[in-house]
Assembly symmetry: C2
Homo-oligomer: 435 residues x 2
């Protein structure tokens, strides 16, 4: 037998989708230039982690089960080792935490504990999108995790351009009308209202309230993703869409990857929308997600839930307070990047070169506009000749709007490395702009 | 604002699929009659678990990274806490284990570490099934995890009836021809060759070889799921399809839920099929699965991988040997169920009542045929009036073939409880048969 040879063209379209390929190029470049200073990844800083923590967290959780919940040691064992409830067993701790941190009040029954926020997106999109006429609106530029998931599920997307203050409610209404004019159903809008990835933009409170009105008018659901909301650089925290939501229009996608640690792969969905079943009884959307979750991962690893559960117990379900040190750290990092940009490109220099950037009020990301194409070739040149990495904004756009922009992420580096990295980046930008 | 009210009929079809509802009924009954002895779940026996094990496993893994792999403590920290390689970081340990235990030789690069076997099914189906004309053949009766995943992905299925010796290669060839006659493509066949769930049947070696020939003739891939292969009741282990596969027709779906513990949610896919990319270069199917996995769960929890990795290190990658005690235990359990059936229904009694059962050579499950409808009403009666639970075989069929059959699972109980449970079950069956 000669053996099978599969053809990529015969596999599902998501395998060869260019949007899903772009990140591979970035990873390859990162691998090829390991000594380059990288402003590419949005991963958290590792200096806060200590391997022993994970044992402390697990211990805190099993203690909590025994002391506060009255579990026998056999029940603790079952909790850690066996299959568990599909929607998870730390749903009550999560409901308390979002109440404390965000003023979001949901019943634990509305919480779905997921394998990272990514599985939350998968479950939510799968449940809501019934067929080819259901269209997902996305902010543009947009996080690839949501557009990639839509590709995996063959869900059509419709980009809604962001303004300087993030998603513009009027643009969402216009996009919904446009989709409807094509005979299709605008089903939901995905966005990151606070310190968006990749743009760094944030929505003012009035725009949030207006967006909720638009959602009601257009019969849209809002998928609010909020991994960076704690990490303010300046100003005060704004209420999340979900905290402002009176009509249950908002499905909230939560993550512990930045406020806990990514290795646990624990996220959650707050899905408190009522759902009328075929027999007329009314349940909650979290239960619909549960049916799908039983076919994606059965349940989120008990071990991971125990680690994150222990972390929440130790923080008394006040994760914002527990993140005080991290909030300071990321504030300093983002400010350092902005200070360095100002230092290397004072007003006259940036005007003459045609360079600009935004100054996000928080989060991990900002965008620099440059006068040359910020493409794969430029990235390769920056890595090889200057020892610095960044992400082309074109990866996050479905049109050409990002072709002369680069995303800088400042979360994984310490301030000294940022200063050195920005010196390298400034040389790269100046040389490329002059050329 | 009155607020949103979603309609289940407007959600994706998988949410209201009857096949996905049936398990809910079972779970409800289990919840309502907590004191019933349950032959329903296929979960492993808990007596082998000890909460402290999980700490030992994690410690063994971090020690392994430091001592054998030369990781610094900072690298260990990164490994446990950060995002990681999409296809996992215990792929080499898994490749060594399947070589030791099953004689399956694959490169670690062909291993995808998944969030339980369930995610492995999701990734594999998504990659292979490009559109509505790609049809999945499944053994019938069939594990609901694969048919449910197909429903989530809108993949059409075509059942292939099992014989007493499991999947019949001639029936697979006939099914493939039938699908092709409908103008569709039979893309892959899912099966459990060893001690299938739910039927308990196993394929003889010659049938395995014949099935590989059919796969080659019909250009089919075989999805071999093997969660129970270690657990022999009698006879010798048979080679897996993957061990016999010379043409790379077999994608192997592995699980640590029964040989390790379900709470880790770690499984794997062996996907060593060559894939010709659009540009003509040849990669391996595991890399295509990786692209999809980055959009389902990003990577399998590092913490879970560390626990299973530590377990494999402690077992010197010989998991069959490490499971000697479990193999003995499940052998005794299955034999006890068979002995009890013989005791309560000797030949003359079963002949007069019209009752029969199969005697699987291993695994967790067997099937009892009864003269009354083994439906939800009967299950409710068994639980309420007799204190015993089982699973209607109709849940696993797409036709009426299982309407008078019940599945017994013997994995989660100890032998004394099995004896008491079988006494209750025998009373239930006798009363229902007489009625």
């Amino acid at each position: 037998m000669s053996g099978v040879l599969l053809r990529a063209a015969d596999l599902h379209g998501s395998v060869t989708d260019p949007g899903m390929e772009s990140m591979n190029f970035l990873n390859e470049v990162v691998g090829r230039f390991p000594d380059a200073i990288s402003f590419a990844p949005g991963r958290p800083y590792e200096g806060f982690f200590e391997t022993s923590q994970v044992f402390d967290y697990l211990k805190a959780y099993t203690d909590y089960l025994e002391r506060e919940r009255g579990f026998t040691s056999a029940q603790v064992r079952t909790n850690i080792f066996q299959y568990g409830r599909t929607n998870g067993h730390i749903h009550d701790l999560i409901a308390r935490t979002v109440s404390n941190d965000e003023g979001i009040e949901v019943s634990p029954q509305s919480v779905v504990v997921t394998v990272g926020c990514q599985e939350g997106m998968l479950l939510t999109l799968r449940a809501l999108f019934a067929g080819p006429d259901d269209v997902l609106l996305v902010s543009s530029p947009c996080y690839v995790g949501i557009t990639g998931t839509a590709t995996v599920l063959d869900i059509p997307i419709h980009p809604v351009p962001e303004g300087p203050h993030g998603v513009d409610p009027a643009a969402v209404a216009a996009a919904a009308a446009e989709v409807r004019a094509q005979g299709k159903r605008p089903r939901a809008m995905y966005l990151v209202p606070d310190f968006a990835n990749p743009s760094g933009s944030s929505m003012p409170v009035e725009a949030r309230e207006e967006l909720l009105r638009v959602a009601e008018q257009e019969d849209l659901l809002l998928l609010e993703d909020n991994p960076y909301g704690f990490f303010l650089r300046e100003g005060n925290p704004r209420p999340t869409l979900k905290a402002l939501d009176r009509a249950k229009r908002v499905i909230y996608l939560g993550s512990f990857a930045k406020t806990g640690f990514p290795g646990a792969r624990v996220g959650y969905v707050l899905a408190d929308q009522p759902v009328a079943a075929l027999d007329g009884t009314v349940g909650v959307l979290a239960d619909s997600l549960s049916k799908i979750k039983s076919m994606t991962t059965v349940n989120t690893a008990a071990l991971s839930q125990a680690a994150i559960g222990g972390m929440l117990v130790l923080a008394d379900c006040k994760l914002r307070d527990a993140n005080a040190q991290a909030i300071d750290f990321y504030r300093t990092n983002l400010q350092t990047v902005l200070d360095q940009l100002e230092h290397h490109f004072p007003a006259d220099v940036r005007a003459s070169l045609g360079i600009s950037w935004n100054a996000p009020e928080g989060g991990f990301f900002l965008v620099v506009k440059v006068p040359f194409p910020a493409n794969d070739a430029a990235l390769h040149r920056a890595a090889g000749d200057y020892g610095v990495l960044w992400t082309p904004m074109s990866y996050f756009h479905h049109d050409t709007a990002g072709d002369h922009q680069l995303r800088l992420s400042c979360s994984a580096l310490d301030p000294d490395t940022i200063v050195e990295g920005m010196t390298r980046l400034a040389r790269f930008i100046k040389d490329s702009s002059a050329a």
